[in-house]
């Protein structure tokens, strides 16, 4: 091999690397950044859950913004009401919002008008018998009673056009629940301190940029309203809802990612510069790290079509991991000509890369799209960093200045090693005891424990939602049919079952969309039940004669029935732009496949009778979704899957070690060190966090992957003292950089990142300690 040829091939390799880097950068720059929460929630397992997931992501409910206008005490509630009113007026003409309501009586006028105009197609009591002489006589008797009661002011305006009381029947069917609390004529929380406004954005809840614009517009409208109506009052704007949380969590993730990656870079670079005193090394070390990150992001972008904000945040941990390989190459490189020494290093490096990769493989298999992304990103990043460090750095690195660890290990006095082993063994035993005492409640599977939102974000939502008597979104009855009409018919068939369950106390109320949009079949049947004008007039005359009503009192009724006979059937368009139209859009949903899904919100489900409810509805071809329990059940399933994946990952790591090292004693040592590291970490986590989540579990596998790197070096220390102390120095330095990166990650306010950071941060130290306790000098046999 002559000098010029080497140089040519070197240049060629660097050109290839730069080209690859440029290609990756191009892909990454074009990839959309996603921040939706759903990626870190379990994926849907059943068709109903898929429907639910779709709705949570893109449904009408996901566009809902709950706005609270709060004053410090009840006495100032009028200020809140006035600001709310001014705000509603502004938002109604703002194109960011398609629907705004605050419970003012005027809001419901249009809904009432629509229901009244469509009463003969909507009322459940319309049938042929109703319009006979007997039927009308009974209706008139009821009407007279209503007109001579306290409710007369309500009934009187409709009496002439609706003597049979269709409107009352329609409203009774719809109003199963108590209306929301009001004050000053608008929605208020029951404590009287917060006026509530509901707004629906014109853009989907997952479009975070659009949501952010809508929120800015909302803030501006609020400020102007406040300045105009109550400039002196202390009025505060509170926002909740899926879109609001999406914007909030993206902001938090972005802030965390920026802050933590800058900090990690500074700290790691500072440490390396301090220890190695080589700016040139620092620059070169950035090459594998940068290339690994770019390649990881590019593969993620290609594989997932987007890069999640949390992946970016997690990316900084790669700084701590990938820089290790540069450190190993730099410090442990053999003197020129010592081919055997280098071969030994390359094998160790390959093993370290592979065992870390095995850890990330478990993340890919966890079943969470978000975690899978982190896994793919990290796996690709680690492999590429390792490869670049192996193939590019040696030729360019400055000659290594011997960096020896300030001490030798295993220590000269065996008693010290013994002592270390005892300490690790005691820690191991304590950890086992700790885990055993918490065993029944070791795992938390609640949604809030893994939600990317900060704890407490949901409280405001729940408070406003409860006060506005909005569906609590815990229980849903869902059904899906090939056509819209079939879906509506199935919904109608469900009504008696739901009503029966309501009577039995299994639930307190349900909102069925078929009550406002009956199927064509039912509408047509009602239309056919309406008599011809002449027949109705004759029957009415006979029915009115013996009463106190004037003979011509009900002319508007005769006209209305005649008109309804020839009226077109009601469609969803009939309600366009009204409050009922909003409800219909949320409840009758066109599915991607062309079928129609109906969602019936159910309230006040009695947990003890839920099983009966589920069975009764299931028999009708509908599913009951319990968001809380279903999600928790799913999470537990995923955790079990992840546990198997983790065990598989661990087995893979051991298999790799056994295959590569082919020395059972060494493999046994490494295995003991890894097991101790993972168990001690888990014990510490349980002690301080109370219980573990799925994310802790996955992170523990990461601990095994990273810990294996230390164990590989510690359990096969070179016999030569100088080489040994160099190895020790490189492992200490590498673990320090890893620790820095993950410790910083643990300060993140995003729960997922915090959990991974805490686990791996502790795990790095535990892995180092356990590896040190298992340290052995390689015996040059075989």
């Amino acid at each position: 091999m002559t000098e010029p040829r080497l140089s040519t091939s070197l240049v060629g390799r660097w050109v290839a690397l730069l080209a690859a880097a440029a290609a990756c950068a191009w892909i990454v720059a074009r990839a959309p950044i996603a921040t939706d929460i759903a990626a870190f929630l379990p994926g849907p397992a059943t068709p109903e859950q898929r429907l639910l997931a779709e709705q949570l992501k893109d449904g009408i409910a996901a566009r809902l913004m709950l706005i609270g206008i709060a004053v410090p005490d009840e006495a100032a509630s009028n200020d809140a009401a006035r600001v709310a009113e001014a705000l509603v007026k502004r938002l109604r003409v703002d194109t960011h919002f398609t629907f705004v309501a605050n419970g003012a009586a005027k809001d419901f006028e249009r809904d009432r008008d629509l229901l009244f105009a469509g009463r003969y197609l909507l009322s459940p009591q319309v049938n042929a018998q109703e319009f006979t002489v007997d039927g009308l006589a009974a209706a008139l008797k009821r009407l007279e009673e209503r007109l001579t009661s306290a409710l007369a002011p309500l009934v009187r305006p409709m009496a002439a056009a609706d003597p049979t009381g269709e409107m009352v029947a329609i409203v009774q069917q719809l109003a199963q629940r108590a209306p929301p609390a009001t004050r000053h004529g608008v929605w208020f929380t029951t404590d009287g301190r917060t006026a509530i406004v509901l707004a629906q954005t014109s853009t989907p809840g997952f479009n975070v940029d659009a949501q952010e614009r809508a929120q800015r517009a909302l803030h501006a409208a609020f400020e102007t309203s406040r300045a105009e109506v109550a400039p002196a009052a202390k009025v505060v704007l509170q926002l909740a809802g899926p879109g609001v949380f999406a914007v909030e969590s993206r902001m938090r993730i972005e802030q965390d990612a920026r802050r933590l990656s800058i900090l990690a870079t500074i700290l790691v670079a500072g440490l390396l510069l301090l220890v190695l005193r080589s700016p040139r090394f620092l620059l070169l070390a950035a090459v594998p790290v940068g290339m690994g990150a770019l390649a990881g992001l590019a593969v993620t972008a290609i594989g997932f079509g987007e890069i999640h904000g949390i992946t970016l945040g997690f990316g900084l941990t790669l700084i701590g991991e990938a820089v290790d390989y540069a450190i190993y190459v730099h410090l442990q490189r053999a003197a020129p000509g010592d081919a055997q020494g280098n071969a030994r290093l390359w094998r160790a490096l390959l093993l370290a890369v592979l065992s870390s990769a095995a850890g990330f493989l478990a993340m890919i298999l966890s079943g969470f799209r978000g975690l899978a992304q982190l896994g793919v990103f990290s796996l690709v990043g680690i492999v590429v960093s390792g490869a670049v460090a192996r193939f590019y750095l040696p030729a360019l690195l400055p000659p290594p200045r011997p960096r020896l660890a300030p001490f030798d290990w295993p220590p000269a006095r065996p008693a010290v090693l013994r002592g270390a082993q005892v300490v690790v063994a005691v820690a191991f035993a304590l950890a086992i005891a700790q885990i055993a005492t918490r065993l029944p409640g070791l795992w938390t599977d609640s949604l809030s424990s893994i939600s990317p939102l900060q704890a407490g974000s949901g409280d405001l939502d729940a408070r406003l939602r409860g006060s506005a008597a909005l569906p609590e979104m815990r229980w849903l009855v869902a059904l899906e049919r090939p056509t819209r009409q079939q879906a509506l018919e199935a919904t109608e068939a469900l009504r008696p079952v739901l009503e029966q369950q309501r009577q039995a106390g299994a639930l307190t109320a349900f909102d069925s969309p078929a009550d406002i949009l009956p199927s064509e079949k039912v509408q047509r049947a009602r239309q056919l039940a309406l008599p011809e004008r002449a027949a109705l007039e004759a029957a009415l005359a006979k029915a009115v004669a013996p009463t106190n009503f004037m003979p011509d009192a009900f002319a508007p009724f005769v006209d209305a029935v005649a008109a309804a006979r020839g009226a077109p059937l009601l469609t969803a368009d009939y309600y366009k732009g009204s409050g009922l139209g909003q409800r219909l859009n949320a409840q009758v949903v066109a599915r991607p496949g062309g079928s129609t899904a109906v969602l019936i919100t159910v309230h006040g489900v009695d947990d003890t009778k839920a099983a009966g409810l589920k069975a009764a509805l299931h028999a009708q071809g509908a599913a009951v979704i319990d968001l809380k329990e279903d999600v928790e059940g799913l999470l537990a399933d995923y955790r079990r899957t992840a546990l198997w994946a983790a065990l598989g990952g661990a087995a893979l790591i051991f298999a790799l070690l056994a295959l590569q090292l082919r020395a059972m004693r060494v493999v046994a040592r490494i295995s003991v060190a890894l097991t101790a590291a993972v168990v001690i970490t888990a014990g510490i986590l349980v002690r301080f966090e109370g219980s573990l989540t799925l994310f802790h579990l996955v992170a523990l596998l990461l601990v095994a992957g990273i810990g294996s790197n230390y164990a590989i070096f510690f359990c096969r220390l070179p016999t030569d003292t100088a080489a040994r102390r160099t190895t020790l120095a490189s492992v200490l330095l590498a673990s320090a950089t890893t620790f820095i990166a993950f410790a910083l990650l643990s300060t993140s306010t995003t729960p997922v990142l915090h959990m991974i950071g805490t686990t791996v941060g502790i795990g790095t130290l535990a892995g180092l300690a356990a590896s040190a306790a298992c340290a052995a000098v390689e015996t040059p046999t075989a």
């Binding site: 007109l147 001579t148 309500l154 009187r156 009496a159 209306p179 009001t182 106190n548």
Partner: protein, 197 residues
């Protein structure tokens, strides 16, 4: 010059003359409402008649009206059917006899029944002597002064369909003896009050 001043004085005097009765009316209203305010709990027998184009003869309801200042209003009907409405602040309790003769009780929020809310607010404010509250809702005139007085009220805001478009009250000193609501439907509801027996 002198002529002009005379004309001006005349005009001013004329304008003042026109305003005088209004001022006097305002004083008279204040006195009337002070009389209302000075009374405590009241219990009146009532007859309510609805004059409507729907009916040949105006149907009648009889019973007792009870007012406990400032927020409790009870309407206890004995004929033609037993019915009791109790309104306390914003909560409405309606008690009727079901088809089986057993009492049925329903609860609602006053604000959710705007048609009822405006009537209740008006009656409560009148009986409590809260003239300021009424002035926020109505233009108020007093064609007949005390002691046998009459007060007319017209809503400031356009009433909704079926709402009240005029109210006339009459009475003797501190007693309200008759209230008439005229609705946009053309119906008139007449409430006659007399000391409870």
């Amino acid at each position: 010059m002198a002529d002009r001043r005379t004309v001006l004085q005349f005009l001013l005097a004329a304008a003042g003359a026109g305003a005088l009765p209004a001022r006097a009316q305002a004083d008279e209203l204040d006195r009337l409402f002070a009389l209302f305010a000075s009374q405590g709990e009241r219990r009146k027998a009532f007859i309510e008649r609805r004059h409507s184009i729907l009916f040949r003869n105006p149907p009648e309801q009889r019973g007792t009206l009870i007012f406990k200042p400032p927020l409790v209003l009870e309407r206890d009907v004995v004929s033609p059917r037993r019915e009791r409405v109790r309104i306390d602040a914003d909560s409405v309790t309606l008690r009727t006899e079901g088809d089986d003769g057993k009492p049925v009780e329903r609860k609602a929020q006053l604000a959710s029944i705007p048609q009822l809310a405006s009537l209740v607010t008006t009656i409560r404010a009148t009986l409590a002597g809260d003239l300021a509250a009424l002035r926020r809702l109505y233009f108020i005139t007093m064609p007949d002064p005390l002691p046998r007085w009459r007060v007319d009220m017209k809503p400031i805001e356009e009433p909704q369909a079926g709402g009240v478009m005029a109210i006339t009250m009459a009475g003797d000193r501190g007693d309200v003896t008759r209230i008439q609501f005229t609705e946009t439907t053309g119906d008139r509801t007449e409430l006659l009050l007399s000391p409870a027996t």
